[in-house]
Symmetry: C2
Subunit: 344 residues, 2 copies
């Protein structure tokens, strides 16, 4: 009875999802970087661009937009709004919104509502950090170089600020004033992508896999499964949402989805490596916390250098999928490279 | 500078919201039940119906639907899905989904996707209970006659189950397989109603007002403000979403919004009274917790009997707004009456 019910449920989920992608569905394959990928990647010529300038420009735009749509700290309930703004405007890298914007640019069509769409991802990311830092979860004291939300506002307010930011993501993307000009059918599809990528089968599911793996002698496929969900699904949603907002065709969406899956893996591996090799100043939080918690990460299996090589392989494979887009995908290409070279 | 920014933000919020309603915006007025309301209410004749049968039938339908769309406990991450199901399928009264369904019936037009729309409200309600019961919040051990979620699954899993249920509400209402036939523009409007009613300016905001009032010598307007947000906004969203799903005209939506605002207040006052007068068996949780926490509630200001009378006045006023709908609004009428007469 249970099995039949499960089959029915799984089918229902599959029915309403975009076609699955072999690479993402078989995480076992991703740690090999076949020579042809690397070779093909080297053949692509990109217009030179300064990724730091691009990132900085987009980051400023994202920050400005987030500030403008966040409830002022003077509006009641003031403590809630202060707490939301404290974490949301704490100077994050804005990787997810920028990925969404760059994906829309790669497709190259007008994308009404792109900024609220992109920023909805940052709201989800920020809420997950606030809840993740709670004493009941990772019990972290520092985040982005500042005391964590609950250290400043208390646990209750941190829980509620997280809930409010999560809800605000869906508010933003459904507000008629901000989303003017976006086709409603496309808008619903974007909301579905966001919900699926961040929920029980996406990011939240990944956090549960992650918690359950603590102090366990996990194998590589288990580690890959954690990464795929915890970090991968929201990065996948970011790129797909940008592409959908710009009216990507199925084939373009397939290419960009594959790109996102590899970039998501590279991002998490790089994070694991930074946790081992970074300083508190570079990271804005305490380093080496994974080892202290008995967490197995990529460096546990491959060493820091081996893990870094794996991340580079992922990036190379991701870049190959961008060739059909030409120079319009330069920012996505540089973003992929930046992700493994960053220091925080 | 701040004031101008706040004004701009407030205006932006107002712009994208439905017209405000004087009763709801001036909570000070609602505790008086003008004679004409009571008189007009008595003049309305409703077809007799058995509200208990209606509630039971709808409750079974809602439960069945929630069960069918909830991830099976055998699907990974199993503990998360077990924890979500534990609270979601714990036998709640399903007041919010039933209000949405009854509002759609009052309008009387076909409402594709009504069940996922209605059940999204129960997902929001359930997540808020899980988070509210956490040790960092109300620290409650029992809910709906069973140990609270964190007592069974631990604090971390309870936080994540709440996050997943919140996200699932927006997943449900944007799933193409479940929402087939619903006009996408209407769907976006429904998502906006849900987000607004449950977020920082709605339910979550109300929870913050509530926490801040603990052990404070609050006055009546402050208490009304808490109730308006904490319980009122989601009940308002429930009725409005049902009405919008059925294609309500502006005037119908106005009437049903007023109905919802009065019913929401009645519901919370009745809850406060039950907290004083109910037994643990009736409530499924410990009684008199408000007084123990030093919370001022309606019975503090009016006594249990006076508060009950106030709730009755709200119900009478709510029912008056149903007269344009005729017998189609019988369930809404009976639901309003049931809300103040219930024992849990």
């Amino acid at each position: 009875m249970k099995n039949r019910k499960e089959a029915r449920w799984t089918r229902a989920v599959e029915d309403h999802q975009a076609p699955s992608h072999s690479l993402f569905d078989s995480p076992q394959t991703f740690c090999y970087a076949p020579r042809r990928f690397t070779a093909r990647c080297d053949e692509i010529t990109f217009t030179p661009m300064n990724i730091k300038d691009y990132l900085e420009q987009k980051r400023v735009e994202v920050d400005r937009f987030l500030d403008s749509v966040s409830p002022p700290a003077t509006t009641a309930p003031t403590t809630l709004h202060e707490s939301m703004r404290y974490s949301l405007l704490a100077g994050g890298k804005r990787v997810r919104p920028i990925l969404a914007i760059a994906a829309a640019e790669a497709v190259g069509q007008p994308s009404p509502g792109l900024m609220p769409i992109a920023c909805s991802l940052e709201l989800i990311h920020t809420y997950s950090l606030i809840h993740d830092d709670l004493p009941a979860m990772d019990n972290d004291d520092f985040r982005r170089g500042k005391p964590t939300n609950h250290k400043v506002y208390g646990d209750a307010m941190a829980i509620l600020a997280g809930d409010a930011l999560l809800t605000m993501a869906f508010d933003l993307i459904s507000r008629p004033d901000l989303m003017k000009g976006c086709d409603p059918a496309r808008q619903v599809r974007l909301i579905q992508e966001l919900a699926y990528g961040s929920g029980n089968m996406g990011m939240v599911g990944g956090q549960v896999f992650d918690i359950q793996a603590e102090n366990q002698d996990i194998d590589l496929p288990t580690l890959q499964n954690i990464h795929k969900h915890k970090t991968g699904m929201l990065i996948r949603a970011a790129v797909r949402m940008g592409a959908i907002a710009a009216g990507a065709e199925d084939r373009q969406l397939d290419d960009l989805t594959s790109y996102a899956e590899d970039v998501g893996l590279a991002f998490q591996i790089a994070d694991d490596v930074l946790n081992v090799t970074g300083t508190r100043e570079e990271l804005g939080k305490n380093p080496n916390t994974d080892a202290e918690r008995g967490k197995k990460t990529y460096p546990t299996f491959y060493g820091a250098e081996g893990a870094r090589k794996l991340a580079d392989d992922c990036v190379a494979r991701a870049i190959v999928r961008l060739s059909p887009f030409g120079p319009a995908a330069d920012p996505l290409c540089e973003l992929a490279r930046y992700i493994t070279s960053r220091k925080n």
